[in-house]
Each structure stands twice: as structure tokens, then as C-alpha cells.
């Protein structure tokens, strides 16, 4: 028995050696591929993984003149400060509300638009709608924020002109914290609904037309066909998009929020990412803001992984 075991393990070791030699041989033969990939891998290493090394300052009192190594370890101090600070509740609430509200409004809007475009029988009208609705996607964030501010302006904005024409009072939208979320979310829907619908339109186009023909023979109406053929047909696309969107829940569109933010609407517009920018780069509290950012990143990761798991269990569709 003993010798048999020994020979078996020796054989296994030999096989492993052979395998390793084979792999090395393969790598040598394809060395050019490694040479090609080296540069982008270096870039990722330096600019994506490099900052991850820098995350250590979240656990230190970082002083720029002393460098990473020279700064003192302080453990979880910054995390505790953040979690117990008075802004903590407000930041979490604002981040989640603005994200979930965007998702709840924007996600179905794109699907409904896609289904409507798919049902539209006139070809040129379909084309026109697609052309116009995709266009706002290409407006830059800065110009978009500028448009929002102009259109909602209490003095000359067209929205207030309309309100006044119908006999209402002019409203200073940007100076009212209560309006901020609606402004952010619906301007986002306006800008991206069309472009986000593309993926569903293409998924709808790839549904087998014989399914529809069979349903028509069985006497199904158009509502029933949407409900029983179209929507199940694009379900996996919907789930993938949903997971991807959930990946952005904690990071929201801070670039736009930052532009729409002012001192008056801060109570609803301040989210974790804008807070990190303000205290990190404007107030130079490097360690503390890194800790806040890390906190945000970790929650984001946990969220993504768990949603992916749930999706896998429920529908056998997942990102990985």
C-alpha cells in the first residue's frame, strides 16, 4: 500500500512537472502576446491598483510631507469619526434616495419606450423618435446642468413662463432643497431614456417572430403578446441591466450633482461622493475623506455581489 501510494504521488508529481513544462513552453511560444499586453497591464497596475495601495491612508493620519510610510497608523479612527458624525445619516439617506429614485424612474422609462418603439408600425416615425430621443445623451454633463439651471430660472426660465401662463406663481426651483431630487432624476430621465432603450430595442428585435404569429393564431391581443412574449423575451437583458445599475447605487452621478449643488439645496443634494470631493480635495482632509470613500466603495461592492447572487438564484442570469 505504502509503495503504491508513493508511486502514485510520484506519478502525480511527474505529471504536474510535465504540465508546468508544457505551460512554460506555451508561454514561450506566445511571448509576443505577453509583450503586447504588458503596456496596458502596467497602466492598470499604476493607475488603478496604485491608488488601492494608497487606501492605507484611511487607517493613518496622513501628512503629505511624511509620505505614506512615515504617517502614523490610527486604526479605525476615521471610520468611527465618520459613522458617528452628524452628516452620516444625511449622506447615506441622500445617496440612497437619489439613486433609488433614479433607478425607479429611469429604468422602467427606457423599457416602456423600447416596447412602444417596437410596437410602432410606421417606419419613418419610429426612426424619427429614435433619432430625437437618443440625441440628449450626447449633451455634456456641464451643458446639461447649465440647461437645467437656465430652463428652471425664476426670472427667464421657460418652465416658469409656462407656469405663469397657466396662472401659477414663479418658483425658484434651484433654491429649494425639496425640488432637488426631482430635478436631478427627471433631467436624467430626459437625457438618457432614449439611449438606454437601445439595448432593449435590439433585444426585442431578436425575439423569434413565429412566437408572435402563433400567439395571433391563438387569439392573443397586443397587450397579451407584450406581457407574455416580449417581456419574458427580454427578461435576461433587463436583469443584467438592473444588476449593472445597482453597481452604481452608491456612486450616483456625482459629476452632475456637483454642478447642480448650491449652498441652499445642500440638505438634499449632498451625497457621499460629493462630500468626499469637498472635504478631500477642497479641505485637504486626505485621510478622513479616503476613509469615507473606502466605506462607500466597500458597501458598493457588497451590494453588487449580493444582488448578483440573488439574480443568479432567482433567474439563473448573472454578470459572472
Amino acid at each position: 500500500m505504502k509503495t503504491a501510494g508513493k508511486t502514485a504521488s510520484a506519478l502525480a508529481a511527474g505529471r504536474r512537472k510535465e504540465e508546468i513544462a508544457q505551460v512554460i513552453g506555451r508561454m514561450k511560444k506566445n511571448w509576443q502576446l505577453y509583450a503586447i499586453i504588458a503596456l496596458p497591464v502596467m497602466v492598470l497596475l499604476i493607475f488603478s491598483y496604485g491608488p488601492m495601495y494608497g487606501l492605507q491612508i484611511a487607517f493613518k493620519d496622513f501628512v503629505p510631507t511624511r509620505g505614506f510610510a512615515g504617517s502614523k497608523w490610527v486604526g479605525m479612527k476615521h471610520f468611527q469619526t465618520f459613522v458617528t458624525s452628524y452628516q452620516f445619516g444625511r449622506l447615506i439617506k441622500n445617496t440612497l434616495l437619489v439613486s433609488l429614485y433614479s433607478l425607479a424612474a429611469g429604468f422602467p422609462a427606457a423599457i416602456i419606450l423600447a416596447v412602444a418603439i417596437n410596437e410602432c408600425k410606421s417606419k419613418w416615425y419610429k426612426k424619427t423618435v429614435q433619432m430625437i430621443t437618443y440625441a440628449p445623451h450626447f449633451i455634456s454633463t456641464v451643458v446639461m446642468a447649465g440647461i437645467v439651471i437656465m430652463v428652471l430660472s425664476p426670472y427667464s426660465g421657460v418652465v416658469n413662463n409656462i407656469i405663469q401662463a397657466f396662472g401659477g406663481e414663479r418658483i425658484d426651483f434651484m433654491a429649494n432643497a425639496g425640488y432637488f431630487r426631482h430635478i436631478y432624476v427627471w433631467s436624467g430621465v430626459w437625457q438618457n431614456m432614449g439611449f438606454n432603450s437601445i439595448i432593449y430595442i435590439s433585444a426585442l428585435a431578436s425575439i423569434d417572430p413565429t412566437l408572435h404569429e402563433a400567439a395571433v393564431v391563438d387569439g392573443a391581443g397586443r397587450w397579451q403578446r407584450i406581457w407574455n412574449i416580449d417581456l419574458p423575451g427580454i427578461a435576461s437583458t433587463i436583469i443584467i441591466m438592473l444588476i449593472m445599475n445597482c453597481g452604481h447605487i452608491m456612486s450616483v452621478g456625482y459629476e452632475k450633482i456637483l454642478l447642480l449643488q448650491n449652498s441652499v439645496n445642500m440638505s438634499t443634494s449632498d451625497v457621499i461622493s460629493t462630500y468626499v470631493y469637498r472635504i478631500g480635495l477642497q479641505n485637504a482632509q486626505y485621510s478622513f475623506s479616503t476613509a469615507v470613500g473606502l466605506f462607500n466603495g466597500v458597501i458598493n461592492c457588497i451590494l453588487l455581489v449580493s444582488i448578483n447572487k440573488i439574480a443568479k438564484r432567482v433567474s439563473e442570469t448573472s454578470l459572472w
Binding site: 418603439i117 437618443y134 437656465m150 426670472y155 421657460v158
Partner: protein, 291 residues
Amino acid sequence: MKREDMAFSFMVYVLLTFVLIIIAFPLIYLVSASFSSPQAVISGRVWLLPVDFTIKGYEAIFKDSSIIRGFLNSLYITVVGTGINILMTVMMAYPISRKKFYGRKAFTMFMMITMFFGGGLVPTFLLINHLHMYNTFWAVMVPGCVGITNVIICRTYFESSIPEELYESASLDGCDDFGFLIRIVLPLSKPVLAVLVLYYAVGHWNSYFNEMIYLEDKVKYPLQVVLRQILIMSQVADEMMLDFSAAEQAQGMADLLKYSTIVVSSLPMLILYPFIQKYFVKGVMIGSVKG
């Protein structure tokens, strides 16, 4: 056609027309407002077409050097940045698209991780400073030059449209990987390269955040940062306002300038849009193939 179907078709048209109006109206209004006298805009007389036609706003913009300089800076960043992007994306995507490439799973993983987790704003900022890239165009062109989703689009395209047999026959003719990539893969990948160029170029042209935090000198500001000053912070350059009387300035000349600025800065996109739209659609399609 059944009655129910008629009603349904009617509803579809109503919905689409509603969406069309909601999206098109602000766009038309902005253009009209930029050609109307400020008084007409303020008093709410402008609805669809320009009222009291004027091009004063545009004249003022082209007198101002900051917008033109911003245009040129943006052009530089977009052209050079996109070049770097394409180079890096192809170099990352090609090896991991090859079946014989040992470690493709590991490299893919290595790349995907950066999509979901990163060092965050401050550590990245410190790194850029440490590398003496602050206040250089490199800081906005190099760090994000490997766009992960674009690498995936590129890889998926390589995998699905360049058959392994092609490589085998090429290698029989003495073609190595370098040659295969440059002489066979790239010429065959023009459609996906067009999509990537557009994605990256629009990204550079429209980006403001990194440019805002990494570029310090006013002469280096790209268009979006200049626009932020004009549109968001209402810092209308004094130069632009010189030609207007105090009364005109009070009467919303600043607003007119903003409307004109919005239109001028969106003009390149507006002109190109009908031609490039289909490439973006194509990109979304390729990207949606799960891989």
C-alpha cells in the same frame, strides 16, 4: 383590425408623440432663445421660434478668447487622448481574445476588478501629484486610458469575427502575433474601432471633472471647464460683456450669452450626430453580447 388593436396603436402613437415633444421642445427652445432678444425671453414671448432676432450673443462669444482656447484644448485632449485609448484598448483586448493565450482568465479578472473597486478620489489624486502629472494634459489622458467596458466590446468583436483558422493559416505563412494583429486583425476590425473612437472621443470632449481637478492653469482649461465657469458659476468673462451698455447687461444679456454658449458648444456634436448615431447603436449591440 380589431378594435382593441386600434386603441392600442393609438395609445402607442400618443405615448411616442408625448415623449418626442418633451425631448424636442427644450432643445428647440434653447436654440430659439439664443437668437432672441433677452427682453423677449424674460417676458416669456419666446415659445418655439426666435423673437426679435439677434446674433449679439454669438458675436460676444467669438470675441472671447477663453471659449476658443477651450475649444482648442478640448480638441487636443480629444485627439491625443483617443489615440492613447485606442492603442491601449487594442493591446489589452487582443491577447485576451486569443484562446492559446495562457492566463487570459487571470488577465481578464485582473482587469474586471478595477471596474468594481478602486482606490477612490483622494488616493488617485495623491498618486497623480506624486508622479508630477498635476497640471499637465497627461493627468487627464493617461490614468483612465484603458476603458474596461470598451476592452470587453473590442475583445468580444475579435472573438466573434476573427476565426481561429485565419490565424492558423497566417502562421503557416510565417506571420507572427505582431504581424497578425497589425496586418490582419486591425484592418478587419474597422467597424469596432470606429465605435471605440466615437465612445472615447465623446467621453473626452464631454468630460469636466478630472480636467477641473487636475488642470490648474487657465490656459489649459478645456471647453467643459470654461463652460462650467460661464454656465454654472455665472462668471461671464468681462471681455464678453464689454460691448453692452449697463442697461443691456441688466436686461439679461448674461442669459443670452448662456443660451448662445450652450448652442455653440453643442454644435460639433449636433452636426456630427446624424452621421455617428448608428455607430453608437452598433456599440451598444456589441457590448450587450455577454462575454
